[in-house]
């Protein structure tokens, strides 16, 4: 059993035992015996079901923003990327500060097929990850190590960026043609927490429920902009898409724009609001 | 425009539009304050000062604008540009008017100056560099001024300040080829003016960064034509100083004349092609480029600045026969020497020597092109000489024009300007004037007998290159520093102070 797992279990047992939290959201091994899945540990016995390995792909902070979880004191196991979600959500007052964040030093998460096949390749986001130690956590499990050489976070975007606007438009048209508007991307994203999503509003009806290319474009474009400056790059949206639309590219592109224009990375500080909500006198946008 | 002749002004004339477009300046925003005229060294000698020439352009008075003397006598000192409250580059407008006059076949008001420029360019075309003796001689003949500067000739020859033969230059043929291609490009019908709009001037003044990067220990070295002939002592002392400080200077192989003021005021493309060729040579060496001559520096920087315009850059690449990438940083020599290194290497401090540091205009102007030191009150030379132990004076003539290129066609006028500079230095008790420019040195050094009144009874004012003074302080032997080249002998003063 790895040190990470021992560490997590010990911490959670302690938290539950002294009733610091009511329950902890973590990972357990799923029914296929290979891939991890989210798990809610309410008792110290259940704490022993917790695991942490390179299949722990889910961003568990999603569970913290659900309405029925308000009022409870919760613990959550977070990878570094998930921890960035925490900071964004804290800045947006989505849960009280007494949440206990159990940060885990992350080895990188792999892509695994549902059949449990051998694909040990790390996920695209993990290949360029430059933050293996979760920032700003209440408890840290694992040895913080120095980061490796800085990798280009946005290398994946290069082929698309090299294309003309017409070519890119054609590319995304093709992608969105497949979209079923299942909203899995939205459902899995912690930063998508609106009680009534604009996509499903009837008064006014911004988008409409019909699955059509125009509606699909509008849904993704608006969602993308709602996430600008808030997306922390976990790429879970892309992973859960049943028709494999590369949503990670879209959101990562906006992350890049925000970084270039405002020198801002979402999730670094919990006392900071995203650039699109802040004004600084020194700020001068090149609007040419 | 004859005096008192009634003129018919026109608003928004095609001529005004042409001048505005070619110069890239908003000529209509001039509100005629007169700051340019007030600062112009030539204003007292010409009929129309710079303000009035701009007014003529504003009113569409083409004959007055293209036929006046000022556009030919303009020294390019940029004092007007630096001071204009509407941020108009007045010197650029003067240059544009001169180019338009040439292009439209208007008879130059000052014929001999036009001839001088042609001769200089012709010399560069043949040999790649300026052959001063021939240019001066032919100018005297063809310009109808046979005795101009003839009095200086014996003394200049005796001191080896004028090469009897043109300098050997490996790149000579290549330079000729550049001329050929430039002529071809200029012969094409013009669909739009080359160059386009100038970059906008920066707002409130801020002094530019000055100290050089300590990590740079090697420079590509562009001496410029004068340093091979009339200013050899500048070249020698510069090399000695750099060698002593442990910074390598590698001379560009086959470099050509930068074109000085002649090229860019008679042909815009040639004016950029000639410096650009040298930048390309530096790029091949992979080193930043330094030059001791402010005129060369100004041309190199102006070219770097102007060639951010891709259309012009394309034409220059075509003229050079190779793509011009505009990536080599250019550092003026005052910025390539660090005061701390001088202070650490001083062996014989220049204690007791009171120096007036004279910068001339081109190292620091205009601000956004030179991006070096302060336009009105520069300090770099003062710091270097203070590091060498000298006392430098605080004076108001650091950047007052010395008369520059007019010393050949109008020596008397140039002498007036330099007389004021020297008189100011003398009044403030300076022992000598330190310069960083071959033309300034020549102007200040060579005609001091005519300025006896200005210089008062204390006699002549020695004019030395700052590198010669630094070399003295670094312990280099005076005999190697060519003090005998000066027409106004500095040795008595140096000996009296114990430096030679």
């Amino acid at each position: 059993m790895s040190d990470l797992v021992t560490g997590i279990r010990a911490q959670v047992r302690d938290l539950l035992a002294r009733r610091r939290v009511e329950y902890v959201v973590g990972y357990e091994t799923g029914s296929d015996g290979v891939n991890a899945r989210p798990f809610f540990a309410y008792t110290t016995e259940e704490a022993d079901r917790l695991v942490f390995d390179n299949t722990c792909t889910h961003n568990l902070t999603k569970y913290l923003v659900e309405p029925e979880r308000r009022g409870s004191t919760i613990g959550v196991v977070v990878k570094p990327c998930d921890a960035r979600s925490l900071t964004v959500l804290l800045a947006e007052h989505k849960f009280p500060r007494d949440v206990v964040a159990i940060g885990v030093v992350c080895p990188g998460i792999v892509q695994r097929t549902r059949e449990g096949g051998d694909g040990e390749a790390p996920q695209a986001r993990c290949q360029v990850c430059d933050q293996h130690t979760p920032p700003a956590c209440d408890i840290l499990v694992g040895e913080a190590t120095a980061e490796g050489p800085v990798l280009d976070q946005f290398a994946r975007l290069a082929p698309l960026e090299a294309q003309s606007a017409a070519e890119r438009s054609a590319f995304w048209s093709q992608q969105f043609e497949r979209c079923l508007r299942c909203y899995a991307c939205r459902q899995t994203c912690p930063q998508c927490y609106c009680d009534e999503c604009f996509a499903e509003a009837l008064d006014p009806e911004w988008v409409g429920v019909r699955i059509g290319r125009a509606e699909n474009w509008l849904f993704h474009a608006i969602r993308c902009f709602h996430l600008a400056g808030r997306c922390i790059g976990c790429d879970e949206c892309e992973r859960v898409c049943p028709v494999k639309i590369p949503l990670g590219l879209l959101n990562r592109k906006l992350r890049k724009e925000v970084l270039d224009r405002f020198e801002y990375r979402a999730g670094t500080r919990s006392d900071e609001r995203p650039p699109l909500e802040t004004f600084r006198k020194e700020e001068k946008l090149d609007l040419a | 425009m004859k005096p008192r002749e009634t003129v018919a002004p026109s608003a928004m004339s095609p001529f005004l539009a042409r001048v505005a477009e070619h110069s890239g300046q908003a000529v209509m925003s001039c509100y005629q304050c007169g700051n340019c005229t007030a600062g112009c060294p030539m204003a007292h000698t010409v009929g129309l000062g710079p303000r009035q020439v701009i007014r003529a352009v504003q009113l569409g008075l083409r004959e007055a604008a293209l036929g006046n003397e000022l556009i030919w006598l303009c020294l390019g000192c940029q004092t007007c540009t630096v001071r204009c409250p509407r941020e108009i580059d007045v010197a650029a407008v003067m240059e544009t008017l001169r180019l338009l006059a040439i292009g439209e076949g208007v008879k130059p008001a000052i014929r001999d100056v036009a001839i001088l420029h042609r001769l200089l360019l012709e010399s560069v075309k043949r040999t790649g560099r300026v052959y001063e003796l021939a240019v001066g001689g032919l100018y005297n003949l063809l310009g109808g001024r046979p005795l101009t500067n003839a009095d200086l000739l014996p003394r200049l020859l005796a001191r080896g300040k004028l090469g009897l033969f043109p300098a050997r230059n490996k790149g000579a043929r290549k330079v000729s080829a550049v001329y050929g291609r430039v002529a071809q490009i200029e012969a094409r019908p013009v669909t739009e003016p080359i160059g386009g709009k100038a970059a906008s001037r920066p707002g409130p003044r801020a002094p530019a960064p000055i100290t050089r990067d300590a990590a740079v220990r090697s420079y590509a070295y562009y001496p410029g034509c004068s340093l091979g002939a009339s200013a050899r002592e500048y070249d020698v002392s510069t090399r000695l100083v750099f060698a002593r400080l442990g910074v390598e200077l590698r001379e560009l192989e086959g470099w050509n004349c930068c074109g000085a003021s002649s090229a860019h005021t008679t042909s815009k493309l040639l004016g950029h092609a000639l410096p650009a060729r040298n930048l390309q040579l530096a790029e091949e060496m992979g080193l930043p480029l330094t030059t001791p001559c402010p005129a060369c520096f100004s041309r190199l920087q102006s070219t770097r600045h102007a060639l951010r315009n891709s259309q012009l850059s394309g034409q220059v690449s075509e003229a050079l026969g190779r793509e011009f990438r505009n990536q080599v940083p250019v550092v003026p020599i005052l910025g390539a020497i660090r005061a701390e290194e001088v202070a650490a290497a001083v062996r014989r401090p220049l204690a007791g020597l009171k120096v007036a540091c004279y910068y001339g205009c081109l190292f620091v102007r205009p601000r956004e092109v030179a991006q070096f030191d302060d336009e009105e009150n520069p300090q770099t030379m003062d710091w270097l000489l203070a590091a060498a132990g000298a006392e430098t004076i605080d004076w108001a003539f650091k950047t007052e024009c010395c008369g520059a290129s007019l010393r050949v066609p109008r020596p008397a006028l140039a002498a007036q300007l330099t007389g004021r500079v020297l008189a100011a230095a003398r009044r403030l008790g300076a022992d000598c004037v330190a310069v960083a420019c071959p033309m300034c040195q020549a102007n200040l050094d060579q005609r001091q007998e005519g300025m006896a009144e200005a210089l008062s009874e204390r006699g002549a004012m020695p004019v030395l290159y700052f590198t010669q003074l630094l070399a003295l302080a670094l312990g280099l032997p005076p005999a190697e520093l060519m003090f005998e080249k000066n027409l106004t002998d500095p040795l008595p003063m140096l000996r009296a102070k114990g430096f030679a």
Binding site: P67, R70, G71, E92, H93, K94, Y193, C194, D195, E196, F198, A201, D203, P204, E205, W206, H226, R273, L276, E277, T278, F279, K281 | Y31, Q32, C33, G34, N35, C36, T37, A38, G39, C40, A43, H44, G49, R51, Q52, T79, R83, C84, P85, R86, E87, R201, G203, P204, R205, D374, E375, E376, N377, D394, W395, A396, F397, A424, R427
Partner: protein, 663 residues
């Protein structure tokens, strides 16, 4: 069921000359919800308005669209019209078919008519969804705050106080009086500045309704018109003014002298000081940063400890010195604020060609003013700072820091031509042998008696006015050589001067931009606070309840400043005389069911009008303060959840407009 009436105005030929109004009316009749459409020659006129009211009654209209000019022209007019006919005033929409159609598409009448019809269609779609809105009411605190105690603030404070309202006058310096107190005489009357100013200053100091707070600064402002909460820091004076008699013993004996700000750096003052003899309050304060006793207390380590001093404390007969005093921070409630923080002179060290501040005998106009002034550092003797000799040739250089793009000041400072003329006259009065030269670019003498005043300078007092900017000033043999041009004769000109006076321009006082940010008002690139409308609302900022007076909003002279002080006071009195304020109902509203509590709206609101509230189900939701909200809509576009909506411009209305012209 909506019953919409559409009224198409001809506006004479302004609209009808381009747009086919009959066709518009005909198209309108076929639009859903429209039960009546008619044309009108001048809808805004008596006749036109009456026609609208008649139609409302006759056709039982419950919504009105007026297709005419811009709402900025006549929205209030037509709102009144429908209100008079018994409709809620917010059930009226305007379609702009003049500024947006007939005035810009005169070259294509059919297209213009088509666009007019589309505009009307949009307005109809919008008006159907208009709700009845009721303006709110809010109480008013009957107290005013005036920030800045120069002549503008003094005038405003006196006028407000004399109208019976309480005023708090906050001034950063130890005395009120501002720039005017530094002047010797004022143009064009040549009144002694202190003589006309000080009686007002005393009046302020003694007025029962004015609370004077000097060495005080506003730190924080929150709230909204009629209900501001202001936090003021009263910096410690370290002298108890309730006990101090102003005898002057302390400042006569204080050993520490520093350059005097009041004398513009020309003279010195002591550390415990009053800035000038007629200061109000006429009691000293301690400049703690420079005080020897403070340095003694701050010094650590044994060597080189400064003397303890405390001479003032030892000598004060009233025992008024209080070294232990600390700043106090106080919160006040006020209903209106007047900002009158004044100006400072441009720092001429930005001009190295004029010496960059290095030449002692190149001085600023304010410094000359102090030399001229009998209560100045030289007792009214105009002498050269370098050697104390009387100058015989004085050269004035205009536009230093004005009309100059290079130093980032392209504007004209308005008063310099006049004060240069004044100073040439005063110089000659002091010394008949003085010859003044003025290098100018243009002479700006646009006020009453101003032109005549400038002529006096030239004709009676012999000042030589040379038209041309000065390029350079440098020292030579004890003189200052001034090089300029006389462009009228067309020659460069040189004058050897004994004294050079730079007409330094006007810029806002230091810290004015920070104060503007504290107050939440806009300011321009130079730091001048921006008026609500430069022509028609020069005394109001863009925040209701915050008024402007004096040079805080731009260069101006004393008569204008005083007029503005009184004008701002009138606005304040008008506000405070009411018992309650009516608030505009076209404000934002939160739908708590949709709000996700992220409070992004609060972050972006420029008017601090959004807070949060705890709902009964434990969620936090945003809450709009309807009195502060100005209806800008920034929160609406920021809200991702679609919870924020702007009454009168709801999302539903805007979408309906889009649908109306796209389907």
């Amino acid at each position: 069921m909506a019953r919409v009436g559409v009224f198409i105005c001809h506006c004479g030929s302004n609209i009808a000359g381009v747009v086919d109004c009959a066709a518009v009316a005909s198209a309108a009749r076929r639009m859903p919800g429209v039960v009546h459409a008619e044309e009108n020659n001048y809808a805004c006129s008596e006749v036109g308005q009456a026609a609208i009211r008649t139609a409302i009654k006759e056709h039982r209209l419950n919504r009105v669209v007026v297709a005419s000019c811009s709402p900025r022209m006549h929205e209030p007019t037509f709102r009144r019209t429908v209100a008079m006919a018994g409709l809620n005033r917010y059930l009226m929409e305007m379609a702009n078919i003049r500024e947006h159609v007939s005035w810009v598409h005169g070259d294509d009448k059919p297209a213009a008519t088509g666009k007019a019809i589309d505009s009307v269609r949009m307005a109809v779609a919008k008006v159907i969804r208009d709700e009845r809105l009721t303006p709110g009411k809010v109480g008013i605190t009957k107290r005013a705050l005036v920030i800045g105690g120069g002549i503008a603030g003094i005038q405003a404070a006196l006028d407000i106080a004399n109208a019976g309202h309480e005023v708090i006058l906050v001034e950063r310096e130890p005395t009120i009086g501002g720039r005017m107190a530094q002047l010797d005489k004022t143009f064009p009357t040549l009144d002694c500045s202190a003589c006309i100013l000080t009686p007002r200053m005393v009046e302020v100091g003694q007025h029962p309704k004015i609370r004077l707070a000097t060495t005080a600064q506003v730190e924080k402002v929150s709230g909204f018109v009629g209900n501001f909460e202001v936090t003021i820091r009263h910096r410690a004076k370290r002298v108890d003014h309730s006990v101090c008699t102003g005898c002057g013993t302390c400042w006569q004996k204080c050993p520490e002298k520093v350059p005097s700000e009041f004398d513009s750096g020309l003279g010195k003052r002591t550390c415990i000081y009053i800035p000038f003899p007629q200061a109000v309050p006429n009691k000293p304060v301690i400049d703690w940063a420079n005080c020897r006793y403070q340095r003694y207390l701050a010094a650590s380590g044994a060597e080189k400890k400064p003397p303890q001093c405390r001479i003032c404390e030892k000598l004060c007969p009233a025992g008024a010195i209080r070294f232990q005093d600390e700043d106090s921070v106080v919160t006040e409630q006020v209903g209106a604020i007047v900002v009158s923080t004044g100006f400072q002179a441009f720092d001429h060290s930005a001009y190295p060609e004029y010496g960059g501040g290095r030449y002692k005998d190149v001085i600023s106009c304010l410094q000359l003013e102090r030399l001229l002034c009998a209560s100045g550092p030289t007792g009214g003797e105009v002498v050269r700072p370098s050697d104390g000799k009387h100058p015989k040739t004085v050269v004035f250089v205009s536009c230093v820091g004005s009309r100059d793009d290079r130093v980032g000041r392209p504007y004209c400072s308005k008063v310099c031509c006049m004060y240069m003329a004044k100073q040439t006259i005063l110089l000659k009065e002091h010394d008949p042998e003085v010859q003044a030269y003025v290098f100018y670019i243009d002479i700006r003498a646009g006020g009453k008696d101003f032109e005549e005043f400038v002529r006096r300078s030239q004709e009676e007092y012999g000042a030589l006015w040379l038209r041309g900017r000065v390029a350079k000033v440098y020292e030579e043999d004890g003189k200052l050589i001034v090089r300029g041009e006389d462009s009228l004769v067309g020659r460069p000109v040189e004058v050897a001067a004994d004294l050079v006076v730079l007409a330094t321009g006007i810029e806002p006082s230091a810290g004015a931009d920070a104060l503007a940010r504290t107050l939440g008002v806009s300011y321009n690139d130079y730091g001048f606070i921006v008026e609500a409308h430069p022509k028609l609302r020069p005394l109001e900022s863009n925040t209701d309840g915050i008024f402007l007076a004096g040079t805080v909003s731009g260069p101006r002279d004393i008569p204008e400043t005083v007029a503005q002080g009184s004008g701002a006071a009138a606005k304040v009195i008008g506000l405070l005389n009411q018992d309650e304020l009516v608030t505009d109902p076209m404000v934002s509203r939160v739908d708590p069911l949709r709000c996700s509590g992220c409070l992004s709206c609060r972050e972006v609101c420029p008017f601090d009008a959004i807070g949060s509230e705890l709902l009964r189900d434990g969620r936090t939701a945003a809450k709009v303060n309807e009195s502060s909200c100005k209806g800008c809509g920034l929160c609406v576009v920021t809200c991702r959840s679609g919870a924020m909506n702007l009454r009168g411009f709801t999302d539903q209305q805007l979408l309906a407009e889009v649908v109306a012209i796209t389907r």
